[in-house]
Symmetry: C2
Subunit: 328 residues, 2 copies
C-alpha cells in the first residue's frame, strides 16, 4: 500500500487537491515513510513558489502582520500557502492560539491554504515537516508561501535558512536583545520589521538596525521597515519590499542557491533526527543503565562512557539503514 | 598539559577556588577535552547541592525572583551558585541583559557565585555546559544552585529534567499558553509560580493550575504560588516550598533518581552533540555536494540520499571515536 497511497496523494496534490495536501502534511508530521516517496514525486514539480519566513519573539505581532500580507497579496490575485508553526514543545514562549484566530478570516478563501504544524518530538523534526509542507504547497501551485514561527533557537535558525526571503519582526525596545543575537543569524535576515511603530523606541530601533555594518559588496542590503500591523500601516511597503527581494534573487540567480540550501537543510536534518532517534532508543537499553551505574559509582568517567556508546553505534547504524531499506 | 591542568583545576575547585571554577566552566563552554577529565575528578565529590531550575517566558520576572530567592537563602547563611543561561542562539525572545543587572547586587558577596552561559553552537551543548557548571558549583561546596533559563524548546526541557526541583514562572493571562504545552513537561514541573500577582488574571491562572489532574498517587503534588517579585511578596513562601520539595526528595530517596537522570542527560547529550558535529562536517564535503546535485536534478530521492549518508557514517564514527581516544 505505501507505494500506491503515495503515488495517488502526489498526483492529487498536483491537481490542486487540498485534502490530499493536508493528508500528506499529516503523514510528514507523523514521520511516515510513505511521505518520502510522495515528496520525491512532487519534487520536480516544485521551485515556482516564493517562500517567505516570518520569525520573531512572542507578542510582536507576527500573526497580525501575516494576515495583513495575505490581504495585500490576495488583492493582486496571488494564491497563498501559510505554514504556522506552534512550538508547543517549549514550556513557555509558545504560540498563543488566540493570535491565530485573526488568520481564520482567510480560511474560507480557497486560494489561501493555512496549515499549523505542531511539535511532536524535537524541533529538528519540525523544521523538516516545515520544508515538506513548503514543497507540498509549492506543488499545489501556491505563488507565495508564508512560514511563520515563534523564536525558539534552532528552529528559528532553520526557518530563516529554509526561506527565500526572511523577515525578522521586532517590537520597539528590543535593542538589548539584538546585541545578544548570534551574528550569523542577523546576517541572513533580509527584511527587519519594527512593528508597533507608534510605541516609544521604534525610530531608535530602526536607526540602530540601519546602522548595522554593510555585508559584502553587492550583497542585498537588508531593508528596515516600520509597520503597525493592527491598523495596517506600512504593510503595503513591506509587501513591496518582499517582492523586491524576490526580484533581486531571480535576477542574480540566487534563487537556485536558496533552493539548494533548503534541500541541504532537509537532508542533514533527516540524518541528524534519525541519529537522535537512535540515541533515544538507548534510553531503554540495559547497556546504558550499566554504564550509568558505573559512572555514578565513579568506576568510569563520562568520556569513557561516551566512547563505549560511540563504539556501539556503527552496529546500530547498520540496523537503522538496513531497516530503512526494507521498510520502503 | 591536559592532564596536569585538569588535575590542578579540579583540586583548586575542591578547595573552593572561584577563579579555578570560572576557568573550568569556560573550558566546558569551549568544549575543551581537558574539561572532561576535571569533571570526572570532581564527580565523586558532588551530590550535596540542591539544584533548582527556574524557567519561563521572557519578561515574566525570573531574574527578579531569582534575586529575591538569593536574598532569602543568604539570610539563612546558605551559599549559592547561580547559572544564568543566555540563549543568544535564538534570534529573539532571548535574555535581555538589563534584567541580569538586578542580580549584580550579589556579585560582591563571596558566598554567591554567579555565572552566565551563552550558546556557542546548538542548545544541546548549552544543556551539557549547564550540567557541567552545576557539578563544578556543587564541588565548590555551594548549598543551593539556581539555574535560570528563558523558555526555548529543548533547552528548557533539558533544564527541567536536570534540576532536582523545577519551577515554572508564569505571568497572569498565560492560560492559553498552558493548553499548548507538551504534557510531559507540565508533569515534571514541581512548583508553578504566578508572578505579577497583582495583575488581572493571576487568581484565575492559579485556580486553573490547581485544577490540573493529579499525578500518580503518592507523587509530589505541584505547588502553585502567587508572587510579586518586585515587592518581594510571596518569595518567602516560595523558598519554603522549594525546601519542602527538597525534603520530600530526600525522605523518599528520589534525590538519587534525579542525579541519575542528570547523568543520563549529560551522557546522551554528549553523544547527540558529537553526532551532530559529525553531520555538520559533511557540510564542507564534496560527497554531500554531489548528492545534493543529484537530488536537485531529480536523479535521486531524498530517502536514497539519506541512506547513502547513513551508510558512510560507520566509517566516520570510527574516525571520531579513535580521534577522541588519542586526543585525551
Amino acid at each position: 500500500m505505501p507505494h500506491r497511497e503515495s503515488d495517488s496523494l502526489a498526483a492529487r496534490v498536483l491537481q490542486g487537491d487540498i485534502r490530499a495536501a493536508a493528508r500528506l502534511i499529516t503523514l510528514i508530521e507523523e514521520d511516515s515513510p510513505q511521505a518520502f516517496d510522495a515528496l520525491d514525486l512532487l519534487h520536480r514539480h516544485t521551485g515556482k513558489a516564493h517562500v517567505v519566513g516570518i520569525t520573531g519573539a512572542p507578542g510582536v505581532g507576527k500573526s497580525t502582520l501575516t494576515s495583513g500580507l495575505i490581504d495585500y497579496f490576495r488583492r493582486y490575485n496571488a494564491t497563498l500557502g501559510i505554514i504556522a508553526i506552534d512550538p508547543t514543545s517549549a514550556i513557555s514562549g509558545g504560540a498563543v492560539l488566540g493570535d491565530r484566530i485573526r488568520m481564520q478570516q482567510h480560511s474560507a478563501d480557497p486560494a489561501v491554504f493555512i496549515r499549523s504544524l505542531a511539535t511532536r518530538g524535537g524541533t529538528g523534526g519540525l523544521a523538516r515537516a516545515a520544508i515538506g509542507a513548503i514543497r507540498i504547497m509549492d506543488a499545489l501551485g501556491k505563488d507565495i508561501i508564508l512560514v511563520e514561527t515563534v523564536g525558539s533557537g534552532q528552529l528559528e535558525t532553520d526557518i530563516v535558512k529554509a526561506a527565500d526571503t526572511s523577515l525578522l519582526v521586532m517590537a520597539p525596545g528590543a535593542g538589548d536583545e539584538i546585541q545578544t543575537m548570534k551574528a550569523g543569524i542577523l546576517e541572513t535576515v533580509h527584511i527587519f520589521v519594527v512593528n508597533k511603530a507608534d510605541k516609544e523606541g521604534a525610530d531608535q530601533l530602526k536607526i540602530y538596525l540601519e546602522a548595522m555594518p554593510e555585508r559584502r559588496p553587492g550583497a542585498w542590503r537588508p531593508s528596515v521597515l516600520l509597520t503597525d500591523a493592527l491598523s495596517g500601516r506600512g504593510v503595503e511597503r513591506l509587501a513591496a519590499s518582499i517582492q523586491r527581494h524576490h526580484e533581486y534573487l531571480e535576477t542574480g540567480g540566487q534563487i537556485e542557491e536558496r533552493r539548494r540550501e533548503r534541500a541541504k537543510l532537509e537532508l542533514l536534518t533527516l540524518v541528524t533526527d534519525s541519529l537522535k532517534d537512535m540515541v533515544d532508543r538507548f534510553d531503554e537499553d540495559d547497556y546504558l543503565n550499566k554504564l550509568l551505574n558505573d559512572f555514578l559509582a565513579g568506576k568510569t568517567g563520562l568520556h569513557s562512557a561516551y566512547l563505549k556508546i560511540i563504539e556501539r553505534l556503527p552496529g546500530e547504524l547498520d540496523k537503522t539503514s538496513g531497516g530503512g531499506k526494507d521498510g520502503i
